[in-house]
Symmetry: C2
Subunit: 198 residues, 2 copies
């Protein structure tokens, strides 16, 4: 038998389809929504629809933005000859939050993963190569330090290097504040290999 | 500076206001929504609004339902002389899922908590007392086994007992499959006190 009202069941069903939301969280969310004032529920619903309608990819770097070109790419004070390549927009936000990087970005929207059947043509790679025809001096590869991220970094560097563009990779090593005792062997080895003179 | 598009920032903001959703999950959800087909986002938004519009409290037991009276209360095969009192609708669903309870329910929508300033008049208690004027033989108190749940159970039983209605409390003890070693002292003591003859 149906445990809740049909409307609630449907809402729980749709909410559980969202990433990171299981059946329990979905039902908690659904009941929360039901208890909210009608105006708030409508506002949330409209915000969702509006965001979906108005947000698009930046024609340059493929982050999400309201306009053709995102604020970073449109900013003439940013160094357009340095491109940081990232897997997704959340990674971009992580770097942009620090506010210390003056170059521009390129969002791949994924990483190469033969296991998952994601190849170079499934990410925004040819869009990156197209940008290199301009006056780009350095490409900083800041994909994740995972197997997929490393594979993607290697692949991109092999293609870009012959084009005469400097390719760098963000450092991997012991995170600041990290306790050596709890850090995996690969990271420890990387930290050793990447040691710098003081 | 704004990390994302204004629409996304607003969506993340509204999503983070939901229970159990922090800033990181909110941004993950927001990006997921942006990448969904437009029709799916609209369906989710409409489901939310519809649920809010059509769902109401059952006039009898105060669960949420599409109609005046919920399916359980409307079912004549259920034993209307036994009322199980619960803190919230998720707890009702937990019991209803088992499908072994033949009585009806009463949802308090909360528990008495002097710490949080929630008193007997803040939960659906007088609505329960009103129902007892009918032919009710037993009230099973199934509030949580927390401080608030126990307080509520004690309070309700003190009011109902003098009315000549049988009041019971669901058993507390070691959960089935539970390992004694990991169970807290209070539960162990309760399990001992509530021991039954084999």
């Amino acid at each position: 038998m149906e445990l809740y009202s049909g409307y609630i069941t449907k809402l729980i069903e749709e909410l559980s389809a969202l990433p990171g939301i299981g059946e329990k969280s979905a039902s908690r969310l659904a009941f929360h929504l039901i208890h909210l004032p009608k105006a708030k529920v409508e506002r949330l619903a409209n915000t969702m629809i509006q965001a979906k309608e108005h947000v698009q990819y930046c024609k340059e770097c493929y982050t999400l933005t309201d306009s053709e070109i995102c604020p970073v790419c449109a900013n003439e004070k940013r160094d357009h000859s340095t491109i940081m390549v990232l897997e997704n927009i959340r990674d971009l936000a992580a770097y942009e939050k620090i506010g210390k990087y003056a170059g521009v970005y390129h969002v791949l929207h994924g990483a190469i993963s033969p296991m998952m059947g994601i190849g170079p043509s499934d990410i925004k790679l040819k869009e990156l190569l197209k940008r290199l025809q301009g006056e780009v001096k350095e490409v900083i590869i800041a994909t994740n330090s995972s197997l997929e991220g490393e594979t993607t970094a290697m692949y991109i560097s092999k293609i870009i290097k012959p084009m005469g563009v400097k390719v760098t990779r963000i450092a991997s090593g012991v995170p600041v504040g990290g306790d050596l005792e709890y850090i995996d062997e690969v990271t420890l080895l990387r930290a050793l290999e990447g040691r710098i003179e003081l």
